[in-house]
């Protein structure tokens, strides 16, 4: 049977654009998770999106496997969260081993009252397949979206009010113009290289072997992390379950190795047997060796070319902050781009994409660098403290929060963003302006399913008009009351306040909040949230 990543899902077919120079609204380079999400977001809001990919298949091998709650919520807004969660493996438990012993176990203890779990494990190839399915569903419904397989960008040129591209295909090259270009072409971004842009940061001198093995074993659905295990002395190891009986194994190999040798099954299999036990039967699905860096571009937006995902920033894999943060990039970008394209917001609104997502990238780089420094101590003293933390963690709870095998991805609050408006509510800190809205169960579903794509006025125990229009931008009222509501609503949005009014952005982040409704204040906050008032 062929694996999904061996089948062309969007094979090359000739486009009329190859016969006559055409200008498209938004061209996206790269049909990975970020490029696909960007295109879906645009297309379901009626904006033409063309994805160019030099390949015609989904990701080869499992690659990104850990998807956090916030990206799942974003996927719900994009109409494809459910198949991911149905297929994915939900996990909350983890074990930490040091040397030959288990030092402690933990439970993520996700908060109740959210539609989505804290994490699912899902192979990137399934993730991309479900996004491609969503693209095709939108296409069938007449949405302006298209994936062009085997379309490789050779040249890109900024023409001021558009970008001109030269594209190679199996039938030769063609020129294409784009009003806007979104580069989602990965850590090695060819677009970034063509434009001669910087990508500096810290290189970590280490190699990791990833092996996906198919086995019928009774390992529980838990994340197991080893520091200095007997089967990989002086290094680390990770075991994590994926759907279809596939297990992800990560083994740290150190810096000075022969990558091609290490990847050979005759070298991989003995390592895995030492880890899993001699009697465990398994098949290798995929083996890869990776190194990583923590770095970002100085700016993500370069006039009409906008970078997102790994093309803009790269982190170590610890904490699952790569694909997860990339989805938050496009979540932040698309509504801004839409307002700018419609002439409802000044072009300067796009500068806040840079600001807000660089803030997010820096937080991710900081967290993932710290995890890497714990997992791979860079000096003797650093190793002594690391081992002291692990030894203490076996006996004393206080040391466990210091153990760092990856701080799992959570969305950032855009504190200090110029788009944030008033905070005139004695409300919870977690819903202050800049925060991603936490979910709440409602009588007829979940709160987050009612927010997004547009500006919403969430009013709790307050009377306000059904709709407001400010400078051509519509705000829809979502009136709720705490009467017979789930206590999570008051806990997450009111605290001790009797009533509240929240202005919520199309990406489900809080723009401003008040205790009472005042039309003038809402209008001012809306103008601020679309970059009109600084």
């Amino acid at each position: 049977m062929n694996k999904i990543f061996e089948i062309p899902l969007y094979p090359y077919s000739r486009s009329p654009d190859q016969d006559a120079l055409t200008r498209r609204k938004v061209v996206i380079v790269g049909a990975g998770p970020i490029g696909l999400a960007a295109a879906i977001d645009l297309a379901q809001q009626g904006i033409e999106a063309i994805i160019l990919d030099d390949n015609d298949k989904v990701s080869f091998g499992s690659r990104a496997i850990c998807f956090a709650k916030r990206p799942l919520e974003i996927l719900d807004r994009l109409g494809c969260g459910q198949p991911m969660v149905d297929k994915g493996v939900v996990w909350n438990l983890g074990k930490v081993f040091f040397g030959d012993r288990k030092v402690y176990d933990f439970n993520l203890l996700p908060e109740d009252g959210h539609k989505r779990p804290a994490f699912i494990n899902l192979q990137q190839y399934y993730f991309e397949e479900y996004l491609v399915n969503r693209v095709q569903e939108l296409q069938a419904a007449g949405a302006p979206i298209e994936i062009r397989g085997k379309n490789k960008v050779l040249k890109t040129e900024d023409k001021g009010d558009h970008v001109s591209l030269l594209i190679d295909t199996p039938e030769g090259t063609y020129g294409l113009e784009a009003e806007w270009l979104i580069a989602c072409d990965g850590a090695g971004s060819p677009i970034r290289a063509m434009m001669g842009l910087d990508f500096v940061g810290r290189v970590f001198e280490d190699n990791f072997l990833i092996a996906d093995v198919i086995m019928d074993a009774d390992f529980p659905t838990e994340r197991w992390f080893w520091f200095d295990p007997p089967f990989n002395k002086g290094q680390s190891a990770l075991l994590h379950k994926q759907p279809d009986g596939v297990w992800r194994i990560d083994l740290q190999l150190g810096w000075d190795i022969d990558k091609e040798e290490e990847k050979k099954p005759e070298n991989v299999i003995p390592r895995l047997k030492a880890m899993l036990g001699e009697d465990v039967k398994f098949d290798l699905e995929w083996v890869s060796i990776y190194t990583f860096q923590c770095r970002r571009m100085e700016k993500f937006r370069h006039n009409r070319v906008i970078f997102a995902g790994d093309a803009a920033h790269q982190v170590s894999p610890f904490g699952a902050r790569g694909a997860n943060s990339g989805l938050q990039d496009t979540d932040n970008l698309i509504w801004k781009l839409k307002l700018v394209m419609e002439g409802k917001a000044p072009e300067s609104l796009l500068e806040t994409y840079d600001l807000e997502r660089i803030y997010g990238a820096d937080e991710n780089i900081l967290n993932s660098s710290r995890s890497t420094d714990f997992i791979t101590p860079k000096s003797e003293t650093s190793r002594i403290f690391r081992d002291a933390v692990l030894d203490l963690s076996e006996h004393h709870a206080f040391a466990r929060p210091l153990v760092n095998s990856g701080r799992l991805s959570v969305p950032c609050t855009y504190d200090g963003s110029p788009l944030n408006g008033a905070d005139r509510l004695d409300g919870p800190s977690r819903t202050r302006p800049g925060s991603p809205c936490p979910d709440v169960p409602l009588a007829d579903g979940f709160l987050l399913d009612k927010l997004g794509d547009k500006f919403t006025l969430l009013t709790i125990n307050v009377d306000a008009p059904e709709k407001l229009t400010v400078d051509g931008v519509e705000i829809t009222n979502l009136p709720l009351t705490t009467e017979s509501a789930d206590p999570a609503l008051a806990e997450r949005y009111l605290c001790s306040a009797p009533s509240a009014v929240y202005l919520i952005r199309p990406d489900q982040h809080v723009a401003a909040r008040w205790g009472k409704f005042d039309e003038k204040s809402v209008a001012a906050a809306l103008r601020r949230a679309i970059g009109k008032e600084q």
Binding site: I384, F385, A388, V389, F398
Partner: protein
Amino acid sequence: MPVTLTPNIPQADDFYAELLATHEGLTKAESDALNARLILILANHIGQRDVLTAALAAAKEAAHKA
């Protein structure tokens, strides 16, 4: 709150002897590990970030400059 840098340990000589006795018979590596565990336990006990920052700075500044 600033870090206490005036005498604060009752029977200081006894404490000092106990500290050395705890290290007795250990190799350099074992002593280094014990010191690290001790620092972490004490830091957790103090638990005030500003005091810990002041303590780290005081320890660093007191290094003898040859």
